[in-house]
Each structure stands twice: as C-alpha cells, then as structure tokens.
C-alpha cells in the first residue's frame, strides 16, 4: 500500500513482471518463522518480513503478513520517503491500543480515506496473547474496502497481518479463508 508516482509505478510493474511471484498451494506452509495452513491457493510476493498474498490482484484482495518488526521500524516496513523519526514506527512496550493507532495512521498515510476501526479485542496470534480489530475505508476513487487486522506485540517486536478487499463481494468471499489461516498460525 504505497503511494506510487507514475515513473515509480511503471518501474515497479516492469520489475514485477515475471519476478518473484510464487504459487502458494492449499495446505500447510512455513512463512518467515511461522507455520500456517491455508484452505485456498494464493500468489505470494514480497520478501522476508513482509509477504503479500493475493488471489485476483492486490486491488481485489491482499493479505499482508509482517513479522518481527523491531523498535524504530515502520509498522508496514515503509523505507522510502521517510525520515528517521517520521511516520508510524513501532516502539518497544507498545500496547495493543497503540498498535491499532499505528496501523490506522499508516493506512491513512497510504491513502485510505473515511477510515473507521472498531472492535479491538484480545485475540491469539501464533500462540501469543495478541489483538484483533476490523476496519473499513475507501480508496481515493471512492471504492469501499473492508479489512481485518490481527497481531501481537509481545517479546519486543511486532508481528501482524491484515487482509483487505473491496466490501463489494470480495471481502466476504475470502474472509472465512483468512480466519482459518489466522487460527492456524503457530510459531515454528
């Protein structure tokens, strides 16, 4: 979820073409220090620390998995266009309430408008006491999206995931699959 300038978009598309798209089959899988089970297949991109899964293209469904974000790092691993102290950065000793704030602020900064988040509650994440909440927002064109986020801030780092999809048809279609993935998460 970055803001692209036209040249950057062109470059990114050129780079993406044929590069680093992996098939994720249904079943058990190891990802970045975690073990999970997926009921459906996905296309995976990204690298250690930030994996992006999609089924129809990221504008239609996107599951982002962030692992081991350290103090000082941006909550969505954004590296470009940010000064050292700027932006939504993880900090040691953060509470779940503040983790939610970070995620909301990062989403707003990446272009989400009319953003509402609700239902922050404790939730197991990879066996740790973590958090979960839901969101809704619109993209810049006005297409409405829904999202669910879950994660944990124990042990000095933050690991979390978020699933985003248009409210129209796409979110409901895959929500149950993401719930299953979340429930299956475990540390290796």
């Amino acid at each position: 979820m970055k803001r692209w300038t036209r040249p950057a978009l062109l470059l990114a598309l050129l780079l993406l073409a044929g590069c680093g798209s992996m098939l994720v089959q249904p079943g058990p899988r190891r990802v970045d220090g975690l073990q999970l089970d997926t009921p459906v297949s996905w296309t995976e991109r990204g690298s250690k620390g930030h994996r992006i899964w999609t089924r129809d293209g990221t504008a239609l469904n996107a599951l982002h998995l962030y692992t081991e974000i350290k103090p000082g790092e941006h909550v969505m691993r954004q590296r470009y266009g940010l000064k050292k102290d700027e932006g939504a950065r993880f900090r040691a000793g953060l509470s779940a309430v503040e983790a939610q704030e970070l995620i909301v602020d990062a989403l707003r900064a990446s272009g989400a408008t009319d953003l509402k988040s609700e239902g922050l509650r404790p939730h197991l994440f990879a066996g740790e006491t973590g958090f979960r909440f839901e969101l809704s927002f619109a993209n810049a064109q006005g297409l409405r999206y829904q999202a669910m986020a879950a994660g944990e801030v124990e042990n000095g780092t933050m690991s979390w995931l978020i699933f985003l999809a248009p409210s129209e048809h796409y979110y409901e279609r895959d929500r149950v699959h993401v719930e299953a993935i979340l429930a299956s998460l475990a540390r290796r």
């Binding site: 300038t5 036209r6 000064k83 932006g87 922050l120 404790p122 927002f137």
Partner: protein, 377 residues
Amino acid sequence: MSRWLLHAALLGLLTGCASTPNLPPPAVGERPSIESDEAGLWAQMEAFEKRLQYAPDRVTDPALNAYVRDLTCKLAGEYCGDIRVYILRQPYFNAAMAPNGMLVIWTGLLLRAEDEAQLAFVLGHEIGHYVSRHSIERWRQMKSTANVATAISVLSAGAGAGLAGALATMGAYSSLYAFSREQEREADDYGLKRLRELGYDPRRAGQLWAAVWDEERQRERGLMSAIFATHPASEERRDRLLQAAADGEGQRGFENFQARVAALRPSWFEDELSRRHFRQSAVLFARLRALPPLAGEAAYYQGEMYRKRAGEGDVTRALEAYDAALAAGRAPPAVHRSRGLVLRQLGRAEAAREAFRRYLELAPEASDRAMIESYLQ
C-alpha cells in the same frame, strides 16, 4: 514528496516569467466558448467536480456546508451563483479555486482559522483568483515557454503521490494552483478589500498568516508540510498583510465561527494527530489551547500528541495535559483511556486500572471495551 517536486519545478518557472496583460473579470454566468483553451480547462474541472460529488472524504454535514456556502456567497457578491464550495476532510491548510467556479477548502484550514474574519479572508482570496482569472493567465503563460514540458512531466509525477498531491494537482494542471507572487498579492489585496467592505477586521488576515508561518517553520526538510505549496507561507507575506491592515478595525466573528465548527473539530484534531508530524502539531495545539473555548479540547489533543510522540519526558507532559483538559471540563471520555495507557507506562498499575474503569463507565458502548477490560484483569 510530490510537494517538493512541485515547489522545485515552479521555482524554476516563476522567476523571470513574462507577464501577460490582465484579463478582464468574468461576466456573471459566463461560460467560455467551446473552441477556446479555457473551455478545455473547464471540461477537465467539470469532470473533476463530478467525481467530487462522490468523494469519500467530502464533508457532507449540512450545517457546516450551509455556513461556509453563505459566507462565500456574501464575499462573492454578484458571482455568488457562479461559485460552488466543497469541504474535504484532509488535515492540511489548503483552499483552491478552479477556473469554473469550483472552490475546495480542506478541514485542516478550518481547524487552523480562529474566527470568521480569517475564514472570510481565505475565501475572499480564492474568489480574487477567480475574478482575476489567474488560472487561465498561468496556463497561457506556461504553454508557450520552453520549460513547460519539463514542468508538466515533473508535476504530473506528483499526481500519483496520494490524495493530497492529486487534489492539488487536479490532473496535470497543478501549476494552475501555484500562482505567481504577483497573482498571490492581487488575491490577497482582493481578500483584504472584501474584509473591509463587509466590516471584518482586516488585521486578522496577517495574524492568520503569522500563525501559519510559525507552524511552517517547524517543518523538517523533506517532510510534507501541513501548509500547502499552493499557499506558500512566508514572512514576507505575513508582514505585507499585517502592514496593509495596520490601521484596520472591525468584527472578528469569533463566537459564531467557534460555534459552527465545534461539532466536527474533534475529528479534525484526530486527523492532525494521525499525520504524526509532532513538531507542527505541537505549535498548532499550543496556539489553540490559548483560546478559551478550545482550551480543554486542545489540551487533551496536546496530551495525545505527547503520548504518541513518546519522547523523553513526554509521558509526564501527557499526564499534565490530560489533567488540564479534565480541569477545563472539556475532555472526551477517551482521556481516561489515555491516562490509563500512560500510567501503565509509568508502572502505576492501580492508578491505571482506575482510569480504565472510569473510561468504561463514561463510554459503555466503547468499541474497544473487550481490550480495555482485559487490562483490568
């Protein structure tokens, strides 16, 4: 980031730009003839305006819209029917007038204005651009210069940089909203003129720019400013406005303005906090805290800023600010949740639990009840 590209490109263009003779003001209800270059611009603006009807960040609150619309109408005089105002929920100090009469104002500006005279000045300034046809002037100036191709490609690169950048650029015609110094002066003069004619205190204009400049100065290089490049803040501008109105007097419209924005202002404070540009927010919140009706609310948000910034000593500062907000009697129930979070950080577990309990008492429908309850165990 795009704001810097915009700025850089325009600095190259603005100095030494040949000026064209002033265009006559538009006739009331006038539309450009279809073969003209103005018509092409209008078509673009009309397409944009059509999309604006559905914009997810459009503020639709009827009372606020009626207030801003009526004020604009008063200021626009005979052009009242040719101008349409839109309010967008964006945490930046910005307003823009398109050549077809579309006027867009951002909530970051409504948060920063203190009274009706200041809002009236900004609206009057925009109407000044419309009456002097500055957009089409700029477009004609730009079209023929050798630099324009570079500028357009650089500026349209900015069009992809997020909502803020896109609105200011409105497609590839961003330079139309970055007027020359001369044009800004003309629009400022028009704004002051209207203030005087309608009985507002013209000194409020320079004072608004002084406040905006104070905030702008806090910006670290490379960070996106809350003050848009289309309304460059500068000492020169502030001084010029203060001087031009030095002998002025008139109404501020303070109570009326504060009453009209009271309902939505908390959400604008939240949006400002969300930017996480603490230096600028600190200056802004301190200024607003000095206004009696806002003192409690601004103190709460100042506390929130400290809590989020989490720098050295910020936890203590946050608690002090929350206490001030509570004393002023204008803090939302969430102040207790914030106190709880901060007290937890200080290791004061029992005091923290008490604060969380108070929060849940005052906000039984809180959406994060389940999480806060888990803190009580």
